[in-house]
């Protein structure tokens, strides 16, 4: 046994800790985005006013949709950031391989997703408190932590998994683009095709429904796990070629 010999897992762990420390500011950005959404956008408030004659009804609907939306936006940016050359070059500080480099990134995504999941669901308490302090007729449609803790934690799980998948998908896309910059064109065209689509059903909608319509936690985790493994394998294969190309 050699003192200088390090297992792959030790390298991954060291790289993960290094990446976590060097990307600490990214987490601060997430929290700032969430605070902006909670305070300025009031979660994501929607108001409908209706009236007839002497009668008027105003219905304000507040939710954590805004916080969730900005968190997904942050996840996309984070996924992209991890593919930048600056991040990849950091791997040279360690005796790293593309495998350990990618595994460390995935660990970081996992940690970031967990933080994003926890803070997004917890932010509901802040949005609710703001409404409670405004002395309004408040109807709480979502069960709280005390009344239904199980449902509370399933929301944390769902948010964490969706954030992780977002990061993995964006990461894989940008790894592909790093391999060949021209490949950005098909992705842009694809994005426009989907966003401009007027048909009620499209393949992107079907993909989202594939996860969103799943009400069994185990099956949802299975689907997300298989997707993440496929993304991980794809990004690993491509990033190996990028390394060869760079060297």
């Amino acid at each position: 046994m050699s003192l200088t010999h390090r297992t792959a897992w030790e390298v991954v762990k060291q790289q993960f800790l290094y990446k976590l420390r060097s990307n600490a500011a990214v987490f601060t950005v997430l929290f700032v985005l969430q605070i902006i959404s909670m305070v300025l956008m009031n979660g994501a408030a929607m108001t409908s006013e209706m009236g007839t004659g002497s009668f008027e009804l105003e219905w304000n609907s507040i939710s954590t949709d805004g916080v969730m939306g900005l968190t997904f936006f942050w996840a996309m940016v984070f996924g992209f950031l991890m593919t930048t050359p600056g991040q990849r070059n950091a791997a040279y500080l360690y005796v790293a391989t593309p495998l350990t480099e990618n595994l460390a990134n995935f660990c970081l995504f996992g940690f970031a997703s967990l933080i994003a999941g926890i803070t997004t669901v917890l932010s509901g308490g802040f949005v609710k408190l703001l409404a409670q302090l405004q002395d309004v007729q408040l109807i709480t449609e979502t069960a709280g932590l005390f009344s239904e803790p199980y449902q509370f934690f399933t929301r944390v799980l769902a948010m964490a998994v969706y954030t992780f998948l977002t990061m993995m998908i964006v990461y894989t896309i940008f790894i592909i683009i790093q391999r060949n910059r021209l490949l950005i064109l098909p992705f842009i065209l694809l994005w426009f095709a989907v966003s401009q689509s007027t048909t009620p059903s499209n393949w992107l909608g079907d993909v989202i429904d594939f996860f969103y319509n799943e009400h069994s936690i185990l099956l949802f985790l299975g689907k997300a796990g298989v997707t993440a493994v496929l993304m991980a394998a794809l990004s690993l294969v491509i990033s190996k070629r990028i390394e060869v190309k760079v060297s």
Binding site: N23, A24, A25, V26, F27, T28, V29, I36, S48, M50, G53, S54, F55, E56, L57, E58, W59, N60, S61, I62, S63, T64, D65, V67, M68, L70, F73, L81, T84, G86, N89, I115, T119, T120, V121, L122, G124, G125, F126, K128, A131, Q132, V136, Q137, L138, T140, E141, T142, A143, G144, L145, F146, Q151, T154, R155, A158, M159, Y162, N213, I217
Partner: protein, 233 residues
């Protein structure tokens, strides 16, 4: 609009700064320790706020609103009055008896919102008019998942003076409700997915159902589309 522009500008500039700094491999203004302290403090603060809001929710008075059941949504009071079918008790606002002398005048007035009369002639004789007022129903949303707000709608009951009845102007009222729900996307394992947005509402008119004996002469001064005369075999 202004606020939205400010938010988008803030977001775009903060993201641009982070990307630029990360690509250059430089740190943002704070030290790493500060970022982790901020992370811990933020999560701890959110936990405390969540507990406070949960405790407040248990002590605050909440509006007594119930979801509309499909059967309630489908129940048609107008049809039930015309066909003589039983009407659920909760639809009835008040039932009163009025003694009239010889004739009854039903006057047209400005109600403020929809109202419909149903006038049935009974062959029982006598001079007692039965008056049943069915509440206006108010349901937010456009499907059966909405809330029944009917109990919050204030109603001025018909005024009876001697042998005359009219409905006074309904009170000016503004109802304001706020609903909170977690994002539906992350509530997929719960049974608490809700309407994203309460678009519109349905309001059924107040109904005044009068059962007037044949012996009482009727003077109906209503517009033809604001009442129905019912004759039973």
């Amino acid at each position: 609009m202004m606020l939205g522009t400010v938010i988008i500008t803030l977001l775009a500039s903060s993201i641009a700064i982070v990307i630029w700094k990360m690509k250059r491999g430089t740190r943002l203004g704070f030290s790493r320790t500060t970022h982790f302290i901020f992370m811990g403090s933020y999560i701890a603060l959110l936990i405390v706020i969540l507990i406070v809001s949960e405790l407040m929710a248990q002590t605050q008075n909440r509006p007594d609103l119930k979801r509309v059941s499909a059967s309630q949504q489908e129940f048609d009071v107008d049809r039930a009055i015309i066909t003589g079918k039983p009407i659920p008790e909760e639809e009835l606002l008040i039932e009163r008896l009025h003694e009239v002398k010889g004739s009854l005048t039903i006057k047209q007035s400005d109600y403020g919102y929809n109202l419909h009369y149903y006038i049935e002639r009974s062959k029982n004789g006598g001079n007692q008019v039965i008056e049943r007022v069915y509440r206006p129903s108010l349901i937010n949303g456009e499907d059966s998942n909405g809330y029944d707000i009917s109990n919050y709608v204030q109603v001025n009951l018909p005024k009876w003076t001697d042998d005359e009845v009219n409905v006074p102007m309904q009170p000016t009222q503004k109802l304001v409700f706020t609903s909170f729900h977690d994002s539906n996307v992350i509530s997929q394992f719960t049974n608490q997915q809700t309407l994203e947005y309460y678009n519109g509402y349905s309001m059924r008119s107040m109904k005044v159902y009068l059962i007037v004996p044949d012996s009482v002469q009727l003077n109906i001064q209503l517009e033809s589309d604001s009442y129905n005369e019912i004759t039973r075999d």
